[in-house]
Structure formats: C-alpha cells, structure tokens
C-alpha cells in the first residue's frame, strides 16, 4: 500500500538503477568498430550482434515493462481472455521465421535501416514509404508512453509517487529523472546501450519470475486453491448481471481469442523497434536461431500471466486507495516478497521499461531521419548528418512520450497503444508481401493501407467500455462471418482485398509502376556475399 516509502526495496531498486546507468554510458565503447559517424553504428549497433546478444536484445525489446504489468493485470481483471498473450507469442515466432531472414538479407545488401527504406527501394514509391514510416512512428509513440506507465506503477507502489495529494512536480520528479538519464545514454551510446542493459534486465526478469512462480503459490496454498479463488471471483455477477470474467474461453469468444492472437503475432515484427533489433544482428541464421530460442521468453510471459490469478487470491485490492488492476503485480510482490527482493523485482520492471523505451526511440528516430528528413528535407545528407539528426530525434520522441503521459489521461495512452497494433498491422501487405513478390502495385498498396487504417480506427472509435467512451476495446463483429473478431485483422483483410483488386485494375490500365532496385538474389544473400552493386556499403542512395 502507498502509506510510506519502502526503504529497503527503494534502496535495492536505486542500486540497480545506478548500475544500469553506468552500463548505459560505458556501452558506447562496447564493440566499437567502423565509422562511428555512420547511422549503422548509432542506430543499429554496427549490425554486428550475434545470436546471444540478439536474443537478449530482442527479448528485452519485445517483452516490455508494460507487458509485465498489463498481461497479469488483464488476467486479474478478466481471467482467460487476458491469457491471449500466450498464443500470440507462440504463433509469432514460427510465423515470422518465414519472412524475417529475407528482410535481413535485402536490408544488408542495400543498407536499409528501417522497414520504410525497404519499401522505398522495392516499390520506388516515396508516398508508400512515407505512409509506412509515419505508421511506424505513430504506433511507437504511445508504446514508449506506456513504458512510463510501467515505471509509474512501480514507483507508486514503492511509495515515491507521492500519492494522490502530492503536487504534480514531486509526484513526477522520479519519472523525470529516470527518463532524463535514459535519454542521455541513448543519445551517447545508441543501440549499444539497450543491448548491454538488456543482459541485466532479462537476467533479473528470469530470476524474479522463476522465484515468484515457485514461491508465491506455496505461500498462497497451492495452485489448486489459487484457481478456485479465481473461479469464485469470476462467477460473481457484475453490475450488468453478467459474470465479470471467466476461467476458460466460452465458444462465442473463441474467434476473438484466436484472431487477437493471430493479428497481434502478425503485427509484432512490423513494429519499428522489432525490425531494428532484427537488422542489428549479424547474419540470416542469427535471426533464424533467435526465432527458435525466443520462446523461452514466452514461457516467462505465460508464467507471469498466472501471477494475475495469484493477485486475486492475495486480494491485492484490499484497503489500497486508488487501486487499479495495473497495480496488481507490484502489489502482489510487495505483499509476498521480503523487502529486498521486492526491490529486485521492481528493478526488473523498471529496467524492463528502459530497454524497450530506448530501442523504440532509436527506431522512431531512424524512421524520421531516413524516411522524412533525408527523403524530403535534406536529400544530400551525409551519414554523419543522419546520425546527428537521429540522436536529436530520439530525444524529441522521448520528450513527446513524457508530455503524453504527464499531460494526458493514462487511458489515452492505453487506447492509442491498442490502436498502434491495429495500425502497424496495415503495413503487413506492403512489407511482407514485398519480401516475396513485386506483383502488387504501389498505388494499390497505398489505397489498401488507407482503407485498413480508416476502417480499423473508425470501428475502434465506436467501441465503449466502462473505462472509456471511445476506443474501449479491440474486437467487433466481422462483416460476413457474424463472429466477434480482432478489428485489426478484419482491417488487414480489407486492406489485402483492396490491394489485390486495385493492383488488377492498375495493371489492366497499364499505370506506370515504380522502379525496383532489388533483385531476387538479394533476398537470400548471406553476410559474406559480395555487394552485388559494387557500391561502397552501405548504400545510401536515397
């Protein structure tokens, strides 16, 4: 409860935070090679990360602090429906196994830093590339903001949030400090900082979750008792006469569960920060191996989700003023663990916010620099100019996220992050389609993207929930099928249909197509294959 400051826990938390800060600044000297002024160095860590570094980096990147707070919170609030994160991450890796190696290869051959770079090269279309870049930035911003929400939940539980009656400055000072430090080392070290810090973060996360799953059920009377308590809670009728949750997915909710899992899995590796992590690896097989070993994190996520049920048994909401389900896991840790270990657990969540926030801001900065600044503002920018602009952009992105969290209701950030997944999924046809075929016409892809964005946003706008009047959910009836499904996936199907039909029309009308600078061999190129263009690599032709 937020009665006072938990000194032991806070001290441990701060020790880890200081250690990580030192690592973040020292990271700029780690594996330094090549031309330090090149964007490949700051923005992709020199494209040099091997299997294990990539594993820690991607794990630290994809499984964010917000995940650690939100997944158990969803299970705590609704039961089985919140568990969809598990099928989602199970589906994601086999799914992307098929196309990420191709993206890696073509990006290596042509020096692409962002997914929008690839679109520009593949379709020769500035408009489509800009659409993909802006979608990426738009989807990433609220995601960074949510990392702050994760830190806030921990700080509140530690008692340093100042409580509801503190003035806003005292309340948010710790958050300011954390973010200022993060911004400083991301600026100086680039992607190397989160890559190195990810080692600390992931190790802590594994220790904390394994300890929690072994220790907490023992204290709460075993899993049998935990699930029985949860079943009792979810059988209780809510204000509208319906049960507030369920232990398994009812037949009419199964489409929602499956489409949410599939749609989220398809979206996962379209996010700019995921692509950044992938392109920073040193070979095709590094990427493939990681698809096979990243499920280790999914197992952690699944066990973490079970903490939501433990929070029910622990009755975490008792007597806490201003309790919301986001606080379920931090409160559970406080109740169950000795103070010093609570500090470790909170450090895991706090650092778990810093790593993805750093990578996301780098990815958004790369997009801005390559696909807006260089494309439209200063076409003759040198690699050193690019690095300079990207560093400044990464700062602005973080400030934007901070203003977002402090200035607006937290619910807005949560709504926008849900929308972000829906939006980023609308780049699937262009990016993944483009990795396999050049059949699509770029104007058709742009129209499909626009159709998906508008339809998805409009549908989501119409959804109300107890917490919010608009954007209150992510699923709606699927036209023609009559089941309830994930809006993002319905929008994706519409997007695909529009792209196919318009491509047929445009091809029939013989509308000129853009120039494709890639060749089929580029999509299976290995790191040691010579540059087919003979240009000094990486190519910075556009």
């Amino acid at each position: 409860m937020s009665h006072g400051v938990n000194v032991t826990a806070l001290t441990v938390f701060l020790l880890f935070f200081v250690a990580v800060t030192v690592i973040g600044f020292l990271a700029s000297r780690w594996r330094r090679a090549g031309d330090a002024q090149h964007l490949d160095e700051w923005g992709l860590g020199g494209r040099s990360f091997g299997t294990w570094v990539t594993w820690f980096l991607l794990g630290g990147d994809l499984y964010t602090a917000y995940t650690f707070i939100a997944v158990p919170a969803a299970v705590y609030a609704t039961g089985a429906a919140g568990f969809f994160a598990v099928p989602y991450t199970i589906i994601a890796f086999p799914l992307v196994f098929a196309f990420l190696p191709r993206l890696w290869s073509v990006a290596r051959v042509h020096g692409y830093v962002t997914p929008a770079d690839f679109i520009r090269g593949r379709y020769g279309s500035k408009a489509l590339s800009l659409a993909v870049a802006l979608t990426g930035i738009l989807a990433t911003m609220p995601y960074i903001a949510l990392q702050l929400v994760g830190i806030q939940a921990v700080l509140d539980t530690l008692g340093v949030g100042g409580g509801a009656n503190a003035n806003w400055f005292v309340k948010d000072l710790p958050l300011f400090l954390a973010f200022a430090v993060l911004a400083a080392y991301t600026y100086s070290s680039g992607l190397r900082a989160p890559a190195l810090i990810a080692f600390v973060k992931d190790t802590l996360v594994y220790i904390v979750i394994i300890a929690a799953v072994l220790y907490i059920p023992h204290r709460l009377g075993g899993f049998g008792h935990i699930f029985d308590t949860a079943a009792t809670k979810f059988n209780t009728k809510g204000a509208n006469g319906k049960p507030i949750g369920s232990m398994i997915i009812a037949p009419k909710a199964q489409w929602t569960y499956a489409t949410l899992g599939l749609g989220s899995a398809m979206a996962l590796f379209l996010y700019p920060h995921s692509v950044t992590g992938v392109l920073a690896s040193k070979s095709r097989n590094t990427v493939r191996r990681n698809m096979a070993i990243l499920p280790a994190y999914s197992l952690m996520l699944g066990l973490l989700a079970l903490l939501g049920f433990m929070a029910i048994t622990d009755n975490v909401s008792k007597g806490a003023k201003g309790f919301n389900s986001q606080l379920a896991v931090p409160q559970l840790f406080t109740d169950m663990f000795p103070s010093w270990f609570t500090g470790v657990a909170f450090a895991a969540i706090g650092i778990g916010a810093l790593v993805p926030a750093a990578i996301m801001s780098i990815a958004a900065a790369n997009l801005f620099t390559r696909n807006v600044y260089k494309e439209f503002i200063k076409p003759n920018a040198t690699p050193a100019d690019e690095t300079r602009v990207a560093k400044i952009a990464s700062l602005l992105v973080k400030v934007g996220a901070l203003v977002f969290v402090l200035g607006m209701d937290k619910q807005v950030a949560i709504n926008l992050q849900l929308l972000g997944g829906l939006w980023i999924l609308q780049t699937f046809v262009s990016v993944v389609g483009g990795l396999f075929t050049r059949w699509f016409h770029h104007w058709a892809l742009l129209a499909g993207w626009a159709a998906g964005m508008v339809y998805g946003t409009w549908k989501a706008y119409g959804l109300a929930s107890p917490a919010t009047k608009h954007f209150g959910g992510n699923s709606a009836p699927i036209p023609g099928i009559g089941q309830i499904g994930y809006i993002g996936l319905t929008a994706f199907v519409l997007n695909l249909v529009v792209a196919v039909v318009l491509t047929l029309v445009l091809r029939a009308a013989k509308v000129t197509d853009g120039v494709d600078e890639t060749s089929p061999g580029d999509y299976s190129a290995e790191p040691s294959d010579p540059e087919p263009t003979g240009a000094p690599q990486p190519v910075a032709a556009h």
């Binding site: 568990f83 598990v86 890796f93 799914l95 098929a98 698809m291 499920p295 060749s519 089929p520 299976s524």
Partner: protein, 93 residues
C-alpha cells in the same frame, strides 16, 4: 559464392523452389500456429495439472513444443541452403 549481377532473374540454383525439406519445414512452422488457433480444442478446465486448469497448462506446454518445431524447421532449412549453395557450384566458403 557470389550473386551473378548479370542474371538476377535466374532461379537460385538447380533445385526447384519447392522441395521436400522446404515443405516439411513449412509444416513444422504451421503445426504450432494451427494448434493455438484451434481454441475449442483446449477451452476446458480438466484434467488439471498440479491444480492448474487444462486451458492454462496446455498452452504453456505449447511454448516449448513450438520451439522444438521451429528448431526442426531451422535445421531443415539450413541444410537445404547449404545444399543449394553447393549445387550452385560455389564450393565451401
């Protein structure tokens, strides 16, 4: 092994695009996806495992299983790629 810049449209090697290892790898990747999307196959409470309802432990079990399938796909694909390279006459690198 180099990519011939003069013949970018040529198929990558004498092997056809669809080969048995590639099909098998695709099946390995599809199995976990289908298993997870088939929600009605696991939306039930029993049998419990150590008190955990079936719905939860079954999905958790699929995490390591999916990794096994992905590793199989990885082995199939990398072996096949080596073969393709050798057939293209590049020799070992």
């Amino acid at each position: 092994m180099s990519i011939d810049p003069d013949a970018p449209q040529a198929p990558p090697g004498p092997l056809p695009v669809i080969t048995p290892p590639r099909v098998l790898a695709a099946v390995c990747l599809l199995v976990p996806i289908v298993a997870e999307l088939w929600v009605s196959s696991y939306a039930r409470l029993t049998p419990r495992f150590d008190g955990i309802p079936f719905f939860y432990w079954y999905q958790l079990l699929w995490v390591p299983l999916s990794a096994v399938f992905t590793v199989s796909a990885y082995l199939l694909i990398t072996r096949e790629e080596r073969q393709r390279k050798a057939l293209r006459g590049g020799g070992p690198r």
